[in-house]
Symmetry: C3
Subunit: 452 residues, 3 copies
């Protein structure tokens, strides 16, 4: 029965409303670089696993911040291949195997002995027109894909996509407003970032009102490039509802670099509530991705920068954190907040009850370390009974690894169909409903949650 359900959804278009691929790939449509730069370097799932077993990031070909030399791509690939057995039983292993087999037609196993065969085959393919970004995009059956971009980004890639008929509102490649660099006082270079935001928008970002106006303007710029959502990667989902004088004082402190940790948290908390207010005006969906203690290893951050795998989740409270925002906007019918978590203990305790009550709250797909076969099963089993299917946001792949997108959606569709088949078998769901819900989970819920 799971197979019959899957057969129905396997070929449906891919809706990818949240991820971190590079808009430039699709804007320029140039051939991808070498296999290692495409498949190893940008995928922190891969680099963290190798690192955990003592392989240095330099050995994987990850560039250092100071420009120090790293190993050559083929040498790095051989290291990866020799350690490929580390991925047995992991989602990365599933995704990579799927990519090797389905995208590149490789039919032997990757290991030290086949490393060069893999490298040469993939490199040869990447040089072919059929393996350019747009060709793969179409081959993968992607209907729409959202990138995430900073308000400081000039959006030139998205402008090019708009000009080509690939981007813009309703387009195939759209952007997402991800303002962390200008709303998180702990972000590298925050004061300069806010000053730059002022320059880009002509708003006086040293005043609270000007700062909010600048964010408002950039949201509009992003909407013009197809964005339907904002995204926030805060350490916690704390929200606040402070008076303007306090807000100004916090902004002053943030710009002066004098805020302590609690002050920075209050600043981010207030920003989330302001984002909700703006969403009510402009209709953008508010995504909250909280709970990661980023850059846990100061040594790694220094040498290789952000997003290299040294991010560790921590306990995340939702019920009290969201209260200030919800007290103000919780019953608004036109607001949509998509909540994510890295803390599964919140599924039945906080998240499903919140989504199952508040009209504005939708539960996001299993995220990051939970975006796996077991993680998706736990999500379905924990969430659906209280939140129902209708309060969930479907699947999103959240990936930097473009080639893994078909594999990730396929795994999600298989798990969802397996879950639905289990419900039917246990007489907890009718078969016709299961067929309808399989399509909802694959496509419709994402459309609806992201206003696509």
């Amino acid at each position: 029965m799971a197979r019959a359900l899957h057969a129905q959804v396997a070929a449906l278009p891919i809706v990818a409303p949240h991820g971190h691929t590079d808009a430039g790939w699709f804007a320029r449509d140039e051939a991808f670089g070498n296999p290692n730069d495409l498949l190893v370097v940008p995928d922190h799932y891969v680099t963290r696993m190798l690192h955990s077993q003592g392989v240095g990031l330099d050995e994987m070909g990850v560039p250092e911040r100071d420009g120090s030399a790293v190993v050559q791509p083929r040498a790095a690939w051989r290291t990866f291949a020799a350690n490929y057995a580390l991925f047995r039983g992991t989602p990365s292993g599933l995704w990579l195997d799927h990519t090797f087999s389905e995208v590149f037609g490789l039919d032997v196993r990757l290991d030290a002995g086949t490393a060069d065969h893999y490298y040469d085959t993939i490199a040869a393919r990447l040089a072919e027109p059929a393996f350019r970004p747009r060709a793969l995009f179409e081959r993968f059956g992607i209907e729409v894909l959202a990138t995430t971009d900073s308000p400081l980004d000039d959006l030139a890639d998205h402008d090019r996509l708009v000009a080509d008929g690939w981007g813009g509102p309703g387009g195939r490649v759209v952007t997402t407003f991800r303002p962390d660099p200008v709303v998180d006082p702990d972000f590298d270079g925050f004061p300069g970032n806010v000053a730059r935001l002022g320059e880009l928008t002509g708003e006086p970002t040293t005043t609270w009102a000007g700062y909010l106006d600048a964010l408002r303007r950039r949201r509009a710029d992003f909407r013009a490039r197809g964005a339907t959502a904002t995204d926030h990667g805060h350490p916690s989902p704390a929200t606040a509802d402070l008076d303007p004088v306090t807000c100004q004082r916090l902004l002053d402190g943030a710009l002066a670099g004098t805020l302590d940790a609690a002050g920075a948290e209050r600043f981010r908390a207030q920003v989330l509530t302001e984002m909700a207010a703006m969403s009510l005006d402009d209709g953008m969906v508010l995504q909250i991705h909280p709970g990661s203690r980023r850059n846990h290893s100061p040594g790694l951050l220094r040498r290789f920068g952000r997003d290299r795998g040294a991010d560790i989740p921590g306990p995340t409270d939702y019920v009290e954190s969201l209260r200030p925002l919800l007290d103000r906007f919780g019953e608004e019918p036109d607001l949509r907040i998509i909540l994510f978590t890295l803390d599964e203990s919140a599924y039945t305790r906080e998240l499903a009850p919140l989504a199952g009550y508040y009209p504005c709250i939708t539960l996001g797909a299993p995220w990051w370390f939970l975006d796996s076969v077991e993680g998706m099963w736990r999500y379905r089993r924990a969430v659906i009974e209280t939140a129902g299917f209708a309060n969930t946001a479907g699947f999103n792949d959240d990936t930097r690894a473009f080639l893994s997108i078909p594999a990730r959606h396929d795994v999600a569709r298989r798990v969802d169909c397996g879950f639905l088949a289990t419900l039917v078998t246990e007489h907890r769901l009718d078969l016709d409903d299961a067929h309808e819900l399989a399509v909802d989970c694959a496509v419709n819920l994402a459309h609806r949650a992201y206003n696509l």
Copy 2:
């Protein structure tokens, strides 16, 4: 094998030692009202799900506090029916389907097209003598059912039940002492409630000793109406063991409305320990239902009042919270505390270890959002290995929805039999033990835990 086990317990009497049905139904034995008032309005599982998808409580026929008009029952029922697909995969869906089919004999699916057919059929049945509360009680095979009542309730309904031979000690419908309105300083109207408690008992409730005496007297009044248990819905299971001077000061503050949040928490904490002390004297079982952040939506509370679905669980600590009480009474052989949780992360970490060590602690059934097929499986898998079956309290339905009682107990019995069958299949339990334990889980453990 699961079916064979279930066959053995399917027809056993229903023991319902904890719930929130209305004693007046059984005391007066009048026909229930219309289908919407019976099946939608009082069931906050139902109203919260509709609300989460933008249906207003007024559209469901839920009365507003200020008496504003709401829609007519039939119109509300049509709204419910049109949205019934929201309940696919939820326990409410299972319970409602069971009720429609088993209680009312309906054999088509509920949707917009069948809404009136459902409404008319159910309304017609409810007018028949066989659908009066006592007739249904007997048809459902209920052996004993406990309501929960406030110390401020005059217990007139229970008096009538005693007079009719239906209530009182050992009777079919008994009460439970639920003192939240007079022991929680944050409860609406607390000072007036305590004054009223004083009037009802003739005790000087402005002194700590008089306040405790008043509670003691009401406990006795409840026992005379069959109560074997008390029940406490605190935000946390905090307990305390304070000196009388401090207690008096807290009571003074609570009555003057000057306690801060920490003071209110200490007050409730001390009350739990006092309740344990009184339980040692009068033998009543102490139920603790902690961890709900009630009335999370101030807007809903203002318009529609308590218990309408806007309650969200939060993280709940047991191991430190219970320490003051356990330091004093933990090794008492004659005390029984039944602990519940909305925080599943405490199952293996705190609750099973506590129940598996302290003679006075028994684990309550999966509660509220966890009272579901998946929730019950997780409970069994998490709890039994450390606590054993003997330290669990069997099942209770905890419901306001009288008609769902057979469905809820049936679901629990099916899951328990499925779990036991799994243990036998994996050679972790002998078959004859599984048969014995199936009966224990269905009936005996509840009898024992609640002194029935």
Copy 3:
């Protein structure tokens, strides 16, 4: 398929790198005492379950601290037998049944009626040479077993084992450095313990430098008796990186008994970081077993002492607690820390991400209340996808109950093979990899994690 995998590993030698058996048993190789003293008294899994149902520890034959009389072994055994049904569905039940059947050849069920038959049979067997500790050790196929000992222990038993060719580096029975009595200011008699440490080592343990030197010396003494690991049972995994002046002040306070709870926590936190520094020098593996609120019942502690079952886990943070240590040593390739938990909510949230990134972190086996069929399944399902197999430490039995060792390892091997078979069935793992990983989980990972 699970059976085929299990057939391959069932007879592999047992590697037991962490446990609490008595080195004296193997050093002296005398016959064990009576059945009750062997199987009931030292096993707090057993005593806590009986206690939870109102059986006093004195009735089980557990000696009181003040030497008061307890019941005779046979009477205690009868009590145990009469209550044996309490263990249905628990791991203790599985382990005991396995021991009764496989070690003693008993083929009837233990209950009140067979209590004496069991007692007499076991007692008779224990008097036979084939049931001496070393004979059983060999019959069980144990390759290596580590005890845990205090730095205040004279290690005479281990010296005897070294002399006999059974102990010492690479030997069959080795020790583990467990310094809780001299590094936890809350430990009973801490100041005297530290003074005794000074006497044993000739180091001035009232100075921070002398105190560290004393620990260093004892570590060397333990290594000479085969130890490859240290073990730390702190209430939390808090670490610190303080300056020497602060360390000296904390030591002064700890020795004077004037440290408050926070000070004691900082002291333990600093010790963990010092232990990591010493591990870098001497190569010992650092085991952290955090999260138990020990001696939760003051009454039990007073009458019967530590480790009698009154230990309750609590919430445990890793991601912030370990930061000071990891900031200093996290990227060291030659350090190995094995992390354990009693808080399953940390598996996917903190522990698998930590182990899947930091080269120095390995995840320990499911521990204590989680060392069960269900607990091991949850561990595998939660941990492997993010940490991979290579970042786990294999199985260890952590037991005081020597006779349960074969049963415990067999249960672990069965669950691991079941998990691997599931992965193969779901096309998430190749069959040849499953065979290789089954052996890794049974033997190789433990060898590697503990440098055996």
